[in-house]
């Protein structure tokens, strides 16, 4: 028998339809797992598969959708039995294939969920190993509504078998996965990972999928699978039925086939009749495999960024070179600072963010993985993974949610032989530097020759030249007078090779005064020569001016809509700043909760006031004023928090002026919502206030086990711990934590708060202090440390 991949080259092939619908007709009670029948009623499962084969389906899905080690103790046995049922039905039939069906784990992955990426890979890998031993023809990863979990499943499949891999995701009516990805983003990631077919299933009916099929047709170089539900369920005469019947369904499938659907089948609510009618109506339609699409793109977990006519801005701010504050943040593991840089660059208009965390004194790989994962929780632009360490690159590409941009490979054999295998495995576009063992060529021709060499070597790994973005390297004109001319000429020659280009723009002006003048003019020239991507500072008005002007001048911004918005927004900001300057003081800015104004006022004060005097004479009194107003119920909680925000911003500005060894690390507190409790609003409010009063806060989050709290207090030698609980059921967990802390170190004081607590409870569980509200807690902590410092 031909392999499924060979058959797909010749003719349209068909999946089966729904499992649950047919099995419920056979007597499966609603809510019972159908997989159990693999062992108890195998003849019924075999009959299900036979009915689909008889209807003309080429591929049946094994009845293993919900099986994994976390859900069923005997999952392995159930998988084997399920595959045996399908194999029995396929026995002796022509063009009949068995797909091992694998659904989601049921848990969401980090950073928004709790499951670790590698844990998910491991769960799927167990299933794949069992399935590949039992003899299936392909792996079907289906009903996936999260791109990251999809990547974990595909990674597991690739690492544990050589079978063809098909993937279908669940898109909603807006054409996106539950976690945000659109088809272009999924296609970019899945093609990069090397799957054999991809598409959509479940969720909605064929009518909705028909609206999305165009996106697949446009972007996918791989065959597209369409397995819709039979519309939506409705109740008729007390029975649940789907609102699209077999005739209507198959009519839609004709249109889907004409629109680019290659592999057709059904999902919930469809039966053998649906498949039979679909085959009858579509088998004679002209069949052509999709042509290879030739576009350059990278993706995040929501969207793809295409490198084409539009100039692409790659934010350069997450790179410690020449940035002392970022260096400090990396050394102290201050992720918030880095995340903030990411968010600000995205808001400023960066399309992609470069992430480079290389410092000799830190564990670069560990920090890179943390940054990539955390950045992907707070910003949806694709990331450019930037490291000279091959291991860091490889590991970051593995855990990246999407198709990354990799920075970089160069023309040396060492670089190519390390970087290309990772790209081959995980997918990605790569920045290729025109430098090799002999250095950077002086001529444009020499740089283009290295580009050619890199493109050829990449093709040996199956990496297409559309995924190579060449950086011909800009060196400073202060020491290399011909640099700009050669680089610009290189861009033209390299574009003629049919690849895209990128430049680290700002190098050009290194060592010169007023660098922005040179840098932005060079950027403009480079764009004229065909530059695609610029690694640049999106906070630089000069650079953004060039970007917006170029788009307006080159018909990329028809009607100058974006330009007008950009130009007017800029004007507005200037006005706002002068306005706040004339009216506000730092004190009033904090009391009124005006963050921007507080920063401006602080910077003004810093010109002639000692940093510590600003804290003690301006920030703290203002906070006390709003705090008292809150206690007297003259101000509301949102106002108090806005003031805290403003105070924190002011505090941050002041801290820049205090040498780091002098900064006050003595006032610290560990905060946590105790184990079993998921409510963290109260704790978060206390945290904000504590920070605005200058405390260092170790926030452990919610549902935190006692040992974790103890370990944190011990590690940081922190003598004050704040615990929060909202549910009565978790008060014992709070008591347990206090007990453990007392046993560890009698000098640790524990303050507690939360909706279920009162003084009596607090006394009962041995707390040192009960805080009725956030201000109360802050006052206690302030007192504690002023007393404590007298003793120490």
């Amino acid at each position: 028998m031909k392999s499924i991949l060979e058959l797909m080259k010749e003719r349209r092939i068909y999946f089966d339809g729904g499992t649950g619908t047919v099995l419920q007709e056979m007597g499966l009670p609603a809510g019972q797992s159908p997989e159990l029948w693999n062992i108890t009623d195998p003849e019924k499962i075999i009959s299900l598969h036979n009915r689909y084969f008889d209807a003309g389906a080429n591929i049946v899905k094994t009845n293993t959708f919900g099986l994994n080690r976390d859900k069923f103790d005997n999952y392995a046995e159930l998988i084997r039995a399920g595959i045996k049922c399908a194999r029995t039905a396929a026995e002796g039939r022509k063009d009949a294939y068995v797909a091992f069906d694998m659904g989601p784990t049921g848990q969401l992955l980090e950073p928004l969920g709790q499951m670790k990426f590698e844990e998910a890979v491991s769960v799927f890998a167990d299933n794949i190993r069992i399935a590949s031993q039992c003899g299936v023809d392909l792996i079907l990863i289906e009903t996936m509504n999260d791109s990251y979990e999809t990547k974990a499943a595909v990674t597991a499949a690739k690492e544990n078998c050589d079978l063809p891999i098909f993937v279908t995701n669940v898109y909603d009516e807006s054409g996106k996965l539950m976690t945000g990805a659109n088809p272009a983003a999924m296609i970019a990631m899945l093609e990069g990972l090397g799957v054999d077919a991809l598409g959509m299933n479940c969720s909605l009916g064929p009518d909705i999928m028909l609206k999305i099929i165009g996106e697949f047709e446009k972007y996918s170089s791989l065959p597209v699978i369409v397995n819709p539900n039979a519309g939506l369920p409705e109740v008729h005469d007390g029975k649940t039925v789907y609102n699209i019947g077999a005739d209507e369904f198959s009519d839609y499938m004709v249109k889907i086939a004409q629109g680019g659907g290659i592999i057709l089948g059904g999902c919930c609510g469809t039966t053998p009749d649906f498949i039979k009618k679909t085959i009858e109506k579509t088998k004679a339609l002209p069949y052509k495999v999709p042509h290879k699409k030739d576009y350059t793109c990278v993706s995040s977990y929501t969207h793809a960024v295409f490198v084409d006519e539009e100039p692409i801005l790659i934010g350069e701010r997450i790179n410690p070179t020449g940035k002392p504050k970022l260096k400090e943040a990396l050394r102290s593991g201050n992720l918030n600072y880095i995340l903030n840089e990411g968010i600000k660059q995205t808001d400023a208009g960066a399309h992609i963010l470069d992430v480079n965390v290389g410092l000799p004194e830190i564990d670069e790989t560990k920090m890179m993985l943390e940054c990539v994962s955390s950045l992907q929780a707070v910003t949806d632009v694709p990331l450019q993974i930037d490291s000279t360490n091959f291991d860091t690159l490889e590991k970051a590409m593995r855990i990246y949610n999407g198709k990354p941009l990799v920075n970089s490979v160069n023309g040396t054999e060492e670089s190519m032989s390390h970087v290309f295998p990772s790209i081959q495995k995980y997918g990605g576009a790569v920045i290729a530097l025109t430098i090799d063992e002999k250095g950077i060529p002086d001529t444009a021709r020499g740089r283009a020759d290295i580009a050619k060499k890199i493109i050829e070597r990449a093709s040996e790994y199956g990496i297409d030249k559309k995924d190579i973005i060449v950086d011909p390297l800009a060196l400073t004109i202060s020491s290399n007078p011909e640099s700009a001319v050669v680089t610009l000429e290189s861009i033209k020659l390299i574009r003629a090779l049919g690849v895209k280009t990128s430049l680290g723009i700002s190098n050009i002006s290194f060592g010169l005064p007023q660098r922005n003048i040179i840098t932005s003019t060079f950027y403009s020239n480079a764009l004229q020569c065909g530059l695609n991507c610029a690694i640049m500072n999106p906070f630089s008005p000069d650079m953004m001016n060039v970007y917006h002007a170029y788009r307006a001048l080159n018909m990329l911004d028809i009607g100058c809509v974006d330009y007008i918005e950009y130009a007017s927004a800029d004007k507005g900001n200037t006005q706002k700043h002068t306005e706040t300057k004339s009216e506000e003081t730092l004190h009033s800015s904090i009391v009124r909760g005006l963050k921007d104004s507080a920063v401006i006022q602080t910077e003004n004060l810093l010109k002639d006031t000692e940093p510590l005097d600003i804290i003690n004479n301006h920030i703290i009194p203002a906070l006390n004023e709003i705090g008292t107003a809150f206690e007297q119920k003259k101000a509301y909680l949102p106002q108090l928090l806005m003031s805290a925000d403003a105070a924190t911003a002011a505090f941050d500005s002041v801290k820049k002026k205090i040498p780091s060894e002098q900064s006050d690390k003595s006032k610290a507190i560990v905060l946590a919502t105790v184990k079993g409790d998921i409510h963290d609003i109260g704790k978060n409010i206390v945290k904000v206030l504590m920070e605005s009063y200058g405390f260092t806060v170790y926030d452990l989050g919610r549902d935190v086990p006692p040992e974790v709290i103890r370990d944190c207090a011990v590690e940081h030698d922190c003598k004050l711990v704040g615990l929060s609980a909202l549910m009565t059921t978790t008060v014992p967990s709070m008591a347990e934590t206090i007990k453990l802390l007392n046993e560890t170190d009698r000098s640790i004081k524990v303050m507690v708060g939360g909706a279920v607590l009162n003084q009596e409870y607090a006394d009962m569980i041995g707390a040192d202090f009960y805080g009725a509200d956030a201000m109360d807690s802050v006052r206690y902590a302030e007192n504690f440390y002023s007393e404590y410092q007298k003793i120490v």
């Binding site: 009903t143 539950m178 969720s203 949102p638 904000v688």
Partner: protein, 201 residues
């Protein structure tokens, strides 16, 4: 398992009016109080919130004291038993405001604690209000008991697992459950709403 008898309710943001009392309570302000930050947080949130509800109408066997047997889950709970007295059917539902809200909150946690608190409060009030909206559609004139959720009284959070599985909540709503029974997206609700038996005359 993908059950084929689950119904969906979705709503546009403008269709769901956020309950003012609920909002005031969660923001810790007087009813009707607002300011620029609250309004701008509300506007941003309304652009990304995506209401979805999945539900079934299920029979419940109440013949053994303090046990509510739905077939797919058997709940031993005094409080729920009392809540469902006089019912032998119930709506079992799961609702969510969507994953984009979690991402927005994660971002605000970095950029502004005040906006984080305010947005969190509005999102909580919003999903509760959507729950009222969806319940109204389910009821459609039926006399129903007060909604009851896992975590209330003695009804254990662990029942979120069979409930969410029964409703295909992962594929239909994108709700997943951690080992300690936390739902993601954070602004999600599971609930049971008993249908009172029709009075015989």
């Amino acid at each position: 398992m993908k059950n084929s008898d689950v119904f969906m309710i979705t709503a546009r943001t403008e269709d769901v009016e956020i309950n003012k009392n609920e909002l005031a309570q969660r923001l810790n302000v007087k009813r009707g109080y607002t300011n620029n930050t609250i309004e701008s947080c509300k506007n941003s949130l309304m652009k990304i919130i995506s209401y979805k509800c999945a539900y079934i109408r299920a029979p419940v066997d109440m013949s053994r004291e303090n046990i509510c047997d739905f077939g797919f889950m058997r709940i031993d709970s005094k409080n729920l038993y009392k809540n469902l007295s006089g019912c032998n059917e119930a709506f079992v539902m799961a609702l969510t405001a969507g994953m984009a809200v979690d991402r927005e909150l994660a971002k605000l946690k970095i950029t502004s604690q005040a906006e984080h608190f305010i947005t969190d409060a509005i999102a909580s009030a919003a999903i509760d209000s959507f729950c009222d909206y969806a319940s109204g559609i389910m009821k459609n004139g039926l006399d129903c008991a007060v909604r009851f959720s896992p975590g209330y009284g003695d009804l254990s959070l662990t029942f979120q697992k069979p409930l969410l599985e029964r409703l295909n909540a992962q594929s239909l709503l994108g709700i997943s459950l951690s080992p300690s029974y936390l739902m993601t997206p954070m602004k999600s609700i599971t609930a049971i709403m008993g249908i009172k038996n029709e009075k015989h005359t």
